[in-house]
Amino acid sequence: MLSIFSKRPCIKCFSETSKILLRCSSQTATSTIERNKDQLKRQIVEYRHVYPEFLPDPKIEYRNLIREKLERADMVARRTQVDIPEFYVGSILAVTSSDRHNPEKPHRFVGICIKREYCGLRASFIVRNMIDHQGIEIMYNMYDPTIHKVEVLRLEKRLDDELLYLRDALPEYSTFDSNMDAEILPEGTPVPINPIKVKLKPRPWLERWERKNLKGIEELDLPERFFKRAKELEKPWEKYDLMKEYMRTIPEEEQIEIFSEVQAELHKLEVQRKKMKRKRVIVKPSKLA
């Protein structure tokens, strides 16, 4: 509407003064609204990476707008109770949760996040570590009421969306000290990407990694026929398939709708977290001295 208005002063039926007035008022109004919109849009572009579980599964048979809305409300309510920070596949997490089988004390598990899947209240992530030379993975539901705390010890991304190949990699790539200290990034820095290339053990593997087009693994030492077959099976045209892209994602208009609904609450939580962080930063030097 406003954009149409701003063009209107060009029509000559207006008097000179009213023309100027109208132009000024309309321009300021449009600019502020546009700026707000731009800001919101930019925030929302960030949000879809930070909170991917707020976006529903785009499969049409799974969509149910009322359920999604209720789930979102529940997720925000849970987030006000427990602080679930921003993390990505490849980040190192420490998850503290109470255990029905050992009621005396909550259990803390440190490891690298190798997978994030599902959305809504079913959202889950897998944490992997090597303890006593034994690879161990635990899957947690993100909105599980038994989780006390999720700490991010090192916030970073890897080159791939899933790190399931760590199961077939040499053990040093998934070994993390359970007494690790959290590394604090300076505020405002983008999330660093760790370009580490992982060396896999010789075959047999759990999956055919040479067919997965992975960027985070070293050159594979395989006979020629494996790569030949992988080349036969790859589908390089799929990235140009617009229909597939459309069915795979939630449209931007809908994303803006979803995130503008929860934006106020999430922003409040973020501000709160920043306050807590600042407190922690101040506390640290006193400990050292």
Binding site: R100, H101, D132, I136, I138, M139, Y140
Partner: protein, 121 residues
Amino acid sequence: MTKLRVVDNSDIGRQAMAEGKPPKCIHVYNRTGIGYIGDKVLVAIKGEKKRGILVGLKQNQKPKIPKFDSNNIVLIDEGGTPLGTRIHVPIPTILRTILKEKTQSKGADYTKLLSIASRFV
């Protein structure tokens, strides 16, 4: 005939693992024949038949239950007493509940296994 890994320090288990001849599962003591966490199995180890308890599995688990990179067993005798004196890998805490349920009075006491564990996850 799944190959298993003995994770306690019993003589027979240690020798079998060192020789590179891990025990094989020849029977699972339940109705389905599929071994889950805490189930008793019969294994063939160094030409002998021994019983063991599954204490860590490769298969996908429910949330908050650890999934291991290998199928681990602890060897026990008829009465449920472990043959070794120490377990050198972490043990899932859910075994406390499972083994307590499986132990009946006057039957085999499987909870002795928990007391030789070095670490729980």
